[in-house]
């Protein structure tokens, strides 16, 4: 979807269901993935995603274009605020039971069983949860929300270079921990077998 298309759909969305559906189809998977990593539980994710879109519809007339990707930043800002409120109530990074975790997309993955996919999600989510709050936010917005550094900078109110630096440090830390905790464990398990 290019910027002109998005502007056209956005202008028509308040009164044109088809235009709104196009925006919904474009942003739903990204928003869902981002919210999933932030809250973990499927039920909570669904509630927050639904609430985000409802607020977006309610406030769509007040949206103003500032740059070409500002609608994505605006939409994810709504989600981020809702997640902040939610987590303020929860007060912790909750470990979610497997049966309440989301499924993963089958993209570039071998056809593994559902449990394995959910374990993978939990492992990565737990890993991200060990990072600083800002690194967690930036990595989830970048990798699962599909936002660019410029859009993330706008949402967080910080410089784009700062976003890039946090992203690099966060990925390096997460990778290091991943190697230490999970890969090493898998190698040990293989050796034992």
């Amino acid at each position: 979807m290019n910027i002109d298309q998005e502007k056209e759909w956005l202008a028509r969305a308040p009164e044109d269901p088809q235009a709104f559906k196009r925006l919904y189809d474009h942003y739903f998977p990204r928003l869902y993935a981002y919210v999933s990593y932030r809250v973990g539980r499927v039920q909570d994710t669904e509630d927050l995603v639904a609430e985000t879109f409802l607020k977006a519809i309610e406030k769509i007339d007040s949206f103003e274009w500032r740059h070409k990707n500002s609608f994505a930043a605006w939409l994810f800002s709504i989600a981020r605020n809702l997640i902040s409120n939610f987590r303020r109530q929860e007060q912790r990074w909750e470990t979610v039971p497997l049966d309440e975790s989301p499924n993963l997309q089958a993209r570039k993955l071998l056809p593994e069983d559902v449990v394995m996919q959910k374990e993978k999600f939990q492992r990565l989510r737990k890993l991200i949860g060990t990072l600083t709050p800002r690194q967690q936010e930036i990595i989830t917005l970048r990798f699962f929300g599909g936002l660019r550094n410029q859009e993330i900078a706008e949402i967080l109110g910080i410089d784009e270079r700062t976003v890039a630096a946090h992203l690099c440090r966060g990925l390096e830390t997460a990778h290091r921990k991943y190697i230490n905790e999970f890969v090493s464990t898998e190698e040990r398990n293989r050796d034992e077998q």
Partner: protein, 367 residues
Amino acid sequence: MNNKHELTEQDQKLLEKVDQILNSDNGECEMDSLYGFCAHLASTVPQADPSFRQQLEARLVAIVQQRKPCTTRPQYLLTWPRKSLWSCRPLRWALTGSILLLLLMGIMFAIPQTRAVLAAWLGFSFEQQVELQPLAVAVLDHDWRSPLVEAADQSFEVYSVEFPEKRWTLIEESGFSTPHPGSRVVLPNGGDFPIPSYLPPGYRWQDIAAMQGNLVELGFPSLAHQSWAGGGSPMPPYNLRVDYLLGGDREDRVLILAQFQTEGQQGLVFQAFHADETHFGLVIQPAEKEESEGVVFLVGSGDLQEVRVNTLPAWWYFGTWNAAGEWVTDNTWSNLVWEQEGCVYHLVGQDLPLKELISIATSLPSK
């Protein structure tokens, strides 16, 4: 690196790789490498239950459809400029500035004191005012009971003017036009009235009450036969024109300048009265002495001092006739009478010293 947010070459390469991973499906890397980890992360995307996605979509579309009938054209028109024209910052400032300017001008036009100044600044003027809005009313209203009522053998006529009590409020809030100090106001009866350019602090000229022209042309016909006097000799024919300039301050204290225009010997005597705070006028009687000339004022006992208005002789005294027909000698009513350019002027004010009366009198614009 001094700054913790400085990016190294390795960071730049990582960022490019992340872009590449997220923009394509090139995620096949070894997990023990950083790039491989990024690819692994990017491929671990949670997926919604399709039924939830569809239900939410149906719910949202229903909301949009519900909004559709309400989203009438005016709402569209409101939306359009906000997202295009209104988003242009210079235009937004210009529109905001214009609205504020118009608002300010509207306020200035609404305030009588600033209206003329603003109009002059904008290069136009208001229409020329021929007739003032009538603040003073009830000309020739005979509801004041003169002490002469009981005098069955005397002739007299009463000329009275009634005006609103809250004149200042009417002018300030309702925008009544007022005579401009220093000007000459053309009267409906053909004459004009010089408006003194000086006013005591806090005072303002408020209105002019003019005798009706047709009565003047008819020689101000006698009303004695229908007056409360109940008889007496008819009034002698006379030609008199009396006009009143009404002024006051915020406390609605009265300042009145009466202009008498009479031709030759009239043989008349005038009693200026103030029946109450909003009611004043004249009782006109035939003069008892044949030698009376011009305008003769009948006043009660008290000091009558001769003073000067410019170089002209004038008379200053305190007091007035009241509603009961009694002469009130307190110092509330201060009177100044003088003749200038063929007219007799009677200036009376409440609680005004002689100095102020003289200043007003000397500021009459000459013909």
